[in-house]
């Protein structure tokens, strides 16, 4: 009986907070997206806003572009992060100063990287200048446009700077707990380095890797700051598009914005769920489940 009382007491703060500020926010935007918006005297439920959202060509193309961009940058961060993590671990550089430096970007705000990139990589920045001094470039115009460009290169660099270290730090926790005797056994039994990695190491770290991928993807997909500063206005990314829609002040557009939000939220949840199910099914899904 006391057990039951404890459970209720312990779960109370979380449930209250989530009910008030998370679930209620989701619920409110759900009913608003169906056209229930008493402020404007709209009380009928309708699919109208979903239909117009899903037939809006610019919303669809921006969503697709943002999805591709988020997958590519999250994937790059995971692959590069994994290679660096394994290398550092193999060479016993996973503690001390190198690891401390690796942890740094996780704690820095994105805007730090943005300011530094503007100073370094814009066409009148420090890097093109150094290249000119070295005689590799004749004029600054020859330096490729990397910031506010069509391919979101500036945004991707910023995300990689933050996310590669995040992947390294989260994989390192798993690698340290892992028993590396399995790898020795595999090598002894005649597996080559790639086979050992593919059949032994990767299954042991894949759940941590998938989790890191989901967190990175969701961040890239929904975060506003960096695309706003380093993105290209002709090739908008979704967060900037939605934010502009929301703050433009046209209150009749609110149900439409909320339907966009619902579509994106459902999409992200389904995408994450699919990845988690795949990660459970492939080798290593059950043993590594505690991380």
């Amino acid at each position: 009986m006391t057990n039951r009382k404890n459970i209720i007491l312990l779960s109370l703060p979380f449930c209250l907070f989530f009910l008030l500020f998370f679930l209620s926010a989701l619920f409110k935007s759900l009913i608003t997206s169906f056209g229930y918006y008493p402020v404007l005297n709209m009380k009928k439920f309708t699919w109208e806003y979903y239909i117009s959202a899903l037939s809006d060509a610019s919303f669809l193309s921006i969503s697709w572009r943002t999805f591709l961009f988020s997958v590519v940058s999250a994937f790059l961060a995971c692959i590069i992060g994994m290679m660096i993590a394994i290398t550092l671990y193999r060479h016993k550089k996973d503690r001390g100063i190198v690891f401390r430096i690796t942890e740094l970007p996780v704690m820095l705000p994105h805007i730090f990287v943005v300011i530094a990139l503007f100073q370094l990589l814009s066409q009148t920045g420090v890097v093109p200048n150094i290249l000119i001094h070295l005689g590799l470039l004749q004029s600054t115009e020859q330096f490729p446009l990397l910031l506010n460009d069509n391919y979101q290169i500036g945004v991707i660099i910023t995300y990689l700077y933050k996310e590669i270290p995040f992947v390294i730090v989260s994989l390192m926790l798993v690698l340290r707990q892992m028993n590396d005797k399995y790898e020795v056994v595999a090598l002894n039994l005649g597996a080559n380095k790639f086979q050992t990695f593919w059949n032994v190491t990767l299954p042991m770290i894949q759940t941590a890797l998938v989790n890191a991928f989901i967190i990175n993807f969701s961040f890239n997909f929904g975060s506003y700051e960096v695309p706003f500063l380093l993105g290209n206005q002709q090739k908008e990314l979704l967060p900037v598009y939605i934010y502009n829609y929301y703050v433009q002040g046209d209150i009749t557009q609110i149900p439409l914005v909320m339907s966009l939000n619902m579509i994106l939220s459902v999409f992200s949840i389904v995408f994450a769920a699919v990845l988690l199910v795949i990660s459970k099914k492939i080798p290593g899904g059950r043993i590594g489940g505690n991380r």
Binding site: C15, F17, F18, K28, I115
Partner: protein, 261 residues
């Protein structure tokens, strides 16, 4: 030879991480670092130090940032600590649901979450208030804080609590003398990260705060879009001083002392 090559790669990797910090530092202390200079023409430490102590806008931003993050730490811990104990030590109907709910704020795109939250904050008339901004910051770091504390509790197990209760301690005594002291490292991690994450929030502070809370992160933005990198870097530098130095000191003194003891 292979070792040397490895060291070179490690060095390049570390250099890539540190370069943005060096650029921020040089921007903050240098003057007239414009095209076509490769390095700032003059360094003026005094100016920066004077600004840190006398510029009222900067000091005001700093106080707001710190107050908001203190509020966020308190609210985050008040929610995350009991939830972490619950998920680590108890089995009950609906545990799976809570386990999933905890991670939802990480998965739902933050722009959607924020506009939804702002919308409901207006309904509660919490928009533009200190509490409203603290709630928004808390929502974003809560999943990490719960996970961090939960791992800590799971590592400790609850055998010590059982022993304490067997020996006749009541719930409160067990909590104060066993559970709480044993969770210190998890708590420290959660507090430090909540502090840093709250300091970095931009859009949550701006949107839910109705632009009334001009924290360091919020002020850095317009300077950056206007191309005033030097002043943006001064704010960034202030940010570094108040986050990295405490992190470093705590790590060095508290955590190492414990290892030794």
């Amino acid at each position: 030879m292979k070792n040397l090559l490895n060291n070179i790669w490690t060095f390049i990797f570390c250099a890539l991480i540190v370069i943005p910090l060096i650029v921020i530092f040089l921007l903050a202390i240098g003057s007239s670092w414009n095209y076509p200079d490769i390095l700032p023409q003059q360094l003026e430490f005094q100016n920066l130090i004077k600004m840190l102590f006398t510029n009222s806008e900067l000091i005001h931003s700093l106080t707001q940032s710190i107050l908001l993050s203190l509020g966020t730490i308190i609210l985050t811990l008040a929610i995350a600590y009991p939830t972490a104990i619950l998920l680590a030590h108890y089995d009950f109907f609906g545990k799976k649901v809570i386990n999933l709910l905890v991670y939802l704020p990480l998965i739902i795109p933050s722009i959607a979450l924020l506009t939804n939250l702002d919308f409901v904050m207006i309904k509660f008339s919490l928009n533009g208030s200190f509490v409203g901004v603290v709630i928004a910051h808390t929502l974003f770091y809560l999943p990490y804080a719960i996970k961090l504390l939960m791992d800590n509790f799971e590592q400790n197990g609850n055998a010590f609590e059982s022993v304490s209760k067997n020996l006749g301690a009541n719930n409160w005594q067990t909590f104060w003398n066993v559970t709480f002291p044993m969770s210190k490292s998890g708590l420290q991690g959660a507090i430090l990260m909540t502090y840093v994450v709250s300091m970095t929030q931009y859009l949550a502070t701006l949107l839910v705060g109705d632009g009334k809370f001009l924290t360091l992160s919020v002020r850095m933005f317009p300077f950056t879009t206007a191309g005033k990198y030097k002043i943006a870097a001064i704010y960034a530098f202030t940010f570094l001083i108040v986050t990295l130095i405490p992190l470093f000191l705590i790590d060095k003194y508290i955590i190492r002392n414990r290892r030794r003891g």
